[in-house]
Amino acid sequence: MNSHSKSCSAILLASTKCIGIIVCSFLMTASNVRAAEPHIRRITPAGLSSGQSRSISLIGERLSDVTGILFYDQRLKASEFKVTDDKNITFEVAADPSLNNDLYAFRLISKTGLSNMRLLGVNKFPSVVEVEPNSDFESPQVIELQQTIDGTVRNEDVDYFAVELEAGQTLSVELEGLRHASDQNFFDPSLAILDANRFEVASNDDATLLRQDCLCSFQALQAGRYIIEVRESSYGGNDDCLYRLHVSNQTRPVTMIPAGGKPGELLQATLIDDLGNSWQEEFQLPDSPTESFSVWSNRNGVQSPSPNYLRVVELENYVEAEPNGDMKSVAPVSVIPAAFQGVLQEENDEDFFAFSAKKDQRFEIQSVTRSAVRSPADTVLNIFKLNGNHLAGNDDNKGPDSFLDFKAPEDGDYAIRVRDHLGRGGIDFVYRVELNAKSPSVQTDIAEQSRYQSQQIVVPQGARTAIEVKVNRRNIGGDAMVNLEGLPAGLSAEAVLCPADRSSVPIVIRSSSDTALSATLASIRTVITQGDTSITGPLRQRTQLIRAQNNVDVWGFDCNQVAVAATEAAPFDIEVIQPGVPLVRDGTMNLKVKLHRKEGFDGQVRLRLVYNTPGMSANGSIRIEKDVTETEIPITANGNATLGVWAMSLLAWTSIDRGDIKLSSEPFTIEIADRIFDFAFNKAMGEVGKPIDVLVGVKQKRVLEGTTEIELVGLPPGTTCDASKVVFDPTAEQVVYRLNVPADAKPGSFKTLNCRGTITSDAGVITQTNGTGEVQIDVPLVAAPAAPAPTASPEPAAPKVLTRLEQLRAMRESN
């Protein structure tokens, strides 16, 4: 058993204790061509046996400068690494005998970056390679029990394997297919066991425990030959649909009860297999709480082909005691917080548990049935006053698991009801519901810089890169100190403070000019201190491996460490000129950027800010073209942008052989300030062929050094303004613009007027734009007399121009 951590949506776990730094460096046999972002598409074979070594081939893209492998578990080691060309590499992998049956993550390390994550299967059975042709039922590939078959399902391919069974002997087959897939190659395998007469004796498409993968067991009544059929569920398939088929004479548990225990406990659990058999086994739980702890059944000395998962939390375990189908039959448990578990044995089964609470005592009541236990049950939770009214309920708050934030309305006893949403039941419909006091927690994640790709940290020599760390606080507020730890030698990052009112913060990681190329796994530790108490939280990063339609996350890897690589120097560097003026709400700013090209580099460089602050946004597709070294990035702040000084960094990258080399600028700050001007638009009206005066009330809220100008923009089509931009005296209260409306101007109502205020000084230009004012241009009912000669814009001393309202008042008074 190993200690693992997994988020509630996790499928596969990263070993926290065993994760280490593994960098295997190899002699390259291919030409030293620069590449970037190596990508693994196919791994052949997809795994090996523990305690043995095996040659593995990788097919992918941009593999020419790969130098080694970063395993997420140090008990896997690689050697004899050969780069054949840009698309093919081979190496020898040795798996330590202590490795349990599971999937182990790795990435390739190149001189310029890290590859996508892929998984390698390790199993204690000996590995056998599928031998084609085996697509004819009459001539299957003969295999033995206790073997793992490495195969491929190509288009319309059906693979047949034959085993000999004695009467009463059990055959259990588990297939890893989807769990080896990646790159949206959604491989959904299907499995069946047939007798010699081609009658199907067992079949399975999707096992809940294994997501879209299959598990199929059967006990032979008669001795003879039995055929295992493997195919894609809709007879699809391709060269990337690799599978590992584990053929055993022992069934594996599909569920366990209880499905968790306390840290350090020796848990005695009842295990249930897919044939409905049950037996007892003991599991030593780790000393620290673990959301999802992997355990393996060792029934009759045969380890199950993949893990089951247990919750390890400080909760008193209660397993249902029948009868508990109504509230009257249950009594409050003696200790809370507690974990309730049981089985929805039959259709429309309902189980009740009771607990006592004081008035206003708050609980988080959550089902971890589907997420952690991987049970088929889709729980619905309801809270009742014991033998009284219904108080609260939830079905899918943690989709499809249930979650309730419950506050006891009074001192007394309460009941929790557990049922399946569709009233289903069965021996494997195990559930676990945890009743816990609300407690503070914090964890971090790293914002993706490319959608659906977990963010890695790749730092070119002598440069830096930036990531946005998202801080998720629960039931606690306050400043959070974020520390990136475990960086390889030569890389450094300062701890940064994420203020209480912010949920993310950028971290810049620097590489010195003599940093050796290396890769490792680093962690992020976040601490929130309030008074004498402080809580610490880890990184939680999920790498999505397979997404379904609408980008639903189907299969991925959860890890509390992030891959970090120190790479070769980039052919450029980027510099941002620190803005000298603030960006105001409803304002615009141009960020000046300088590109420093190294000799021989004339490529295009793309730019984007590492993140946008709340209410601020920037042009994200600015490029510095060949032979250009400077540009400006427009940034705007909307009317509700959060005020303050924000740490910022600019990402810059160039493409080499279709991959990207990325770095960031040194940190700089952007200050978001409140508006400087308040504009008040009065509706202006007039007729075609006559000038219209547009009166804009202006209030300058702060006097700043520099020249203040107010410009009217967004003029109605066909109209002009001779003095659309005027120098503004901060003590004045209004500006009047005279619109020239030609006789053929388009009549109508135009809500397009905006005022742009600028304050220009040596420090820079502050710009604020607000709208919208309305101009109504009408066609006169009678022929209009000749338009008067246009007059110049009124001087400050000129008679006051009346608003439309004032004009109407004046008309009424004159009448």
Binding site: R451, S621, N638
Partner: protein, 434 residues
Amino acid sequence: MKCSGNVFARRGFLSVGALGAVGLSLGDFLRMKQVQAEQKHYDFIEPKADSVIHIFLPGGMAQQESFDPKPYSPIEYRGEMGTVRTNNGEIFGETMQRLAGLADRFTVIRSMTHGEAAHERGVHNMFTGYKPSPALVFPSFGSVVSHEYGPRNNLPPYVSIPNVPNEFASSGYLSSSYGPFALGADPARDGFKVQDLNLAGGVDFDRFKRRREALEQVNQYFADRQSSDSVVAMDSFYDRAYSLISSDKAREAFNIDAEDAGLRDKYGRNEAGQRLLLSRRLVEAGVRFVTMTYSGWDHHAQITQNFRNNMPALDQALAALLEDLDSRGLLERTLVMVSSEFGRTPKINPDAGRDHWPKVFSVMLAGGGIKRGLIHGASDSTATEPDHSPVGPADLATTMYHLLGIVADKELMAPGDRPIEICDGGRVLNEILA
């Protein structure tokens, strides 16, 4: 299809003359007649347009980057593209340089709106004028026109270029004989040839005639034994295809190589250009309704770059089409409609794209009785919803039918003897009519 019930029921023996041959009982016949008598019926009105070129931009074209930019809103709303001033003082997206120079020739509706943010539902709205219904499949604009007017000059009344663009561009509850004739090939490709337009290799006209007679005998066998829309529809489809194949003039309409090379260049030697040029050629020859699709506009990511890739070719082709139609005097009688299933979100998303947004978007109309140089309606300052004069798909459809001389309130017979309005609840947008 109307359910004819049990043909051996007692009342079924009471047949009406020759109708008995196709299985209609007196009860059925009278019921049908009664329903027909209750149908709303209108005569054709004076049409302003003889043909329609419906340019559909699948995926949902962003209004902000095309006909309705918001240059003074924050970047997350206005996007990263600049604008161009049109020749009538309005502004369009920067990639529409040529159309900006012709803005005095067409109308833009900036206040199109509906409530369907899924592609297929939005497409249904914009191809039928109806919201999708689980009970009924509505006919597309082209099929209704085909049903109402039929073919002209031996040409199919409804042609889609290059293919039938979606499931809602077909005949719906009408007979499938009113479905679109799809080219099945892209006119932008070298050696472009419309599928099935010429006799198969090795088949001369006499042999073709003998084949047709043999087919007619087979069809007659089935027609004598059952009443099926598909048999009748296929028969009429074949009839039209025979007319097409046997008419040199009709076939020539599809021959894009006959166009002047300079004009082909002017449209652009690309998908947008050649598809629009062929559209003009077809309406000139007599096709009543052409639906042309171009590119994909579902820009959830990198909308700026995608627009810069997609729009210039369409800008060039559409400008060339308007000038070409105008110079030939065809624009006054040809309605050009540029639409999409919906617009896109006011805010730029984290992938530098925009997502689906049906609440407000833009449609362009030109010719065929539409005012020149008009902007109808407006969206609000962030292109989030119509500021005034909202226009729904039913209004747009009703106006289009009105220009073609069809009263959209007229009822067509749907399955189950249900009379259904061609378009329900729309109004003619008199404000945009010349």
